[in-house]
């Protein structure tokens, strides 16, 4: 395999600028790597012709004297983003054969900037899941394995295809999306970097919706610098998304200095409850690294943490039940075949029963229930109040500290199938990540070490709203101190 696919965005950009490689060569290397990695099921739809045409166009732009942060760089796109003329299903059967007549804003920004979209990455159906097993395309298999064991592991979810693709060097970087941890948890499981930006930093237009007050687009990359580069390329105000913020996008890459002197980092004591020893030790090590880099590390309290996860599941499912009402078997997607005398309600009910997977059905039903007459106040309204409490916790904490350091996940990656039949156990995967989505805050997962079984473990840094530049800088310092540098053995080729 060509070494080109193993490059970071920053390295490939340097080679392009120096004339040492071309967008076409980079794209061909990635396409070859994808073709040799069918066993991972990370990419589910690839259009080589289209990707190569984009690469040639980027090379022509460069030959004409143009340059740009992502010009000519091949990137994987989570199947949650509508891509004009390229099938998009959000990994659901109900969107079978759906070919978007338009392009999502974030992928359009990448296209205009000359990045090369390689194809679509696997995910949990409608981004509902933490394992990338709940997919119409079948499960994604992590490139990582436990030492001395060939059991297939999860790459995390819901952006597990994007994470596996980046970790296995099938692309230089990928887009994910994060509603409750769907970028950060798979990044932690695969030794990659994933950032969920502040709610409103990136446009949600053209992203297949799960829970609109929680969904955010974000990069999944090999390094923190790459996360800064890709975030800069997709961020910014979009009149087509009324919740996208009319704010200047700072130069995230220029913010990477790694000098932690004068920075105060908080460790929320509530996150330490019931923490496995291995994760607790990792968290201690991360705190030590930031202290060594010059930061002051203090204990803080986020007292409403224990309520965040159940509140999240009420809000997310309520929004999902309302967002997914659009899948009716009439306007697009799959329609069930009807029996004699079946009416419009049969059409809806049968199409949705056939088209939605089990986890999606479960969440849509829970959402319909918590919004239904007589239960709205007890569930949904109460959850929205708890959401206020969770945000207030963070506001108070950010009066004392500049960033917060926590674990990303309660464990390293686990075997596929392990969470089957126990939804609540799967939901608990998100215990450290959902709080940020509820509060709208940016968070980043950085690989910091290996578990006893030889699997990647990550730590999460949480920043102030709109503070991605400073957050990336702190992550840069942590990345440098951790010096992770591990790669999975390439058994899949």
């Amino acid at each position: 395999m060509s070494e080109l696919a193993t490059l970071t965005l920053a390295e490939a950009r340097e080679k392009l600028r120096a004339g040492e490689t071309t967008a076409r060569a980079l794209t061909e290397a990635c396409l070859a790597a994808i073709e040799g990695a069918a066993a991972l099921n990370a990419f589910v739809r690839v259009d080589p012709e289209r990707a190569l045409a984009a690469a040639d166009a980027a090379d022509a732009r460069r030959a004409a004297g143009e340059d740009g942060p992502v010009l000519g760089l091949p990137i994987g796109i989570k199947d949650v983003y509508c891509t004009e003329g390229l099938g998009t299903q959000s990994a659901s059967r109900i969107l079978e054969d759906f070919v978007p007549p338009y392009e999502s804003t974030v992928t359009m920004k990448l296209r205009e900037a000359g990045a090369v979209a390689l194809g679509k990455c696997n995910m949990d159906e409608f981004a509902m899941g933490s394992t990338t097993e709940h997919s119409v395309y079948g499960a994604t298999v992590s490139p990582w394995r436990r030492a001395g064991d060939t059991a297939p592991l999860t790459a995390g979810g819901s952006s597990g295809g994007s994470a596996a693709a980046v970790a296995a060097d099938l692309c230089l970087a990928a887009l994910g999306s994060d509603t409750g941890g769907s970028i950060r948890q798979p990044a932690a499981f695969t030794g990659t970097v994933g950032i969920k930006p502040t709610y409103g930093r990136c446009s949600r237009w053209g992203m297949v919706a799960y829970a609109s007050s929680l969904d955010q687009a974000g990069p999944m990359t090999k390094t923190v610098r790459d996360a800064a580069i890709l975030l800069g390329a997709i961020a910014g105000h979009d009149p087509k998304d009324s919740t996208s913020a009319p704010r200047e996008v700072p130069d995230f890459e220029a913010a990477l200095k790694g000098d932690m002197r004068g920075r105060r980092i908080g460790l929320p004591k509530e996150y330490g409850a019931d923490l496995p020893d291995e994760i607790a030790a990792l968290w201690d090590r991360g705190a030590e690294m930031l202290r060594d880099a010059g930061a002051e590390v203090v204990e803080i309290s986020l007292p409403n943490t224990p309520h965040a996860l159940p509140a999240y599941y009420i809000i997310a499912t309520a929004e999902a039940s309302s967002n997914l009402a659009r899948y009716d078997g009439v306007r697009y997607g799959r329609r069930a075949s009807l029996g004699q005398g079946d009416g419009i309600v049969d059409l809806y009910e049968k199409s949705r029963a056939e088209g939605f997977g089990r986890e999606v059905q479960r969440r849509v039903m829970i959402g319909a229930y918590v919004l239904s007459a007589g239960y709205y106040d007890a569930y949904y309204l109460r959850a929205q109040k708890i959401r206020s409490l969770v945000r207030a916790d963070f506001e108070a904490a950010f009066g004392q500290v500049d960033a917060i350091l926590t674990p990303v996940t309660p464990s390293a990656a686990f075997p596929l199938g392990e969470m089957e039949g126990d939804p609540v156990k799967m939901y608990l995967q998100d215990v450290f990540s959902v709080t940020l989505n509820l509060a709208g805050l940016p968070g980043i997962s950085v690989p910091v070490g290996l578990s006893g079984e030889g699997l990647p473990l990550g730590l999460q840094l949480i920043g102030r709203p709109w503070g991605e530049a400073e957050l990336l800088d702190t992550a840069f310092a942590l990345e440098r101190a951790a010096g992770f540098g591990h790669k999975p053995e390439s058994w899949w080729r």
């Binding site: 070919v99 007549p101 009439v330 306007r331 049969d346 929205q384 939804p423 609540v424 709208g440």
Partner: protein, 95 residues
Amino acid sequence: MSIDTDTARRIAGLARIRVEEADLPGLAGELSQILGWVEQLQAVDVSGVEPMTSVTPMALPMREDTVTSGDMRDKVMANAPDAREGFFAVPKVVE
């Protein structure tokens, strides 16, 4: 919170998802498990707390009340499972 079979049937109906009778007890069990888990929120004191309705506090922007998009019938209908003569076709709705 325990969901019985009748309630499970009603929830599936609200969600417009067909669930066969034989599958209702299993569904009721799963829903009970999830709702039982979120039940812990009832113990939280939320008196005097305003519900959060805007993620990043900002006023929703206003724009001119003008048509900004449209005139793309064929694009809109291109993905329909059954479109005829510029209409979405559905089973008979009115008797």
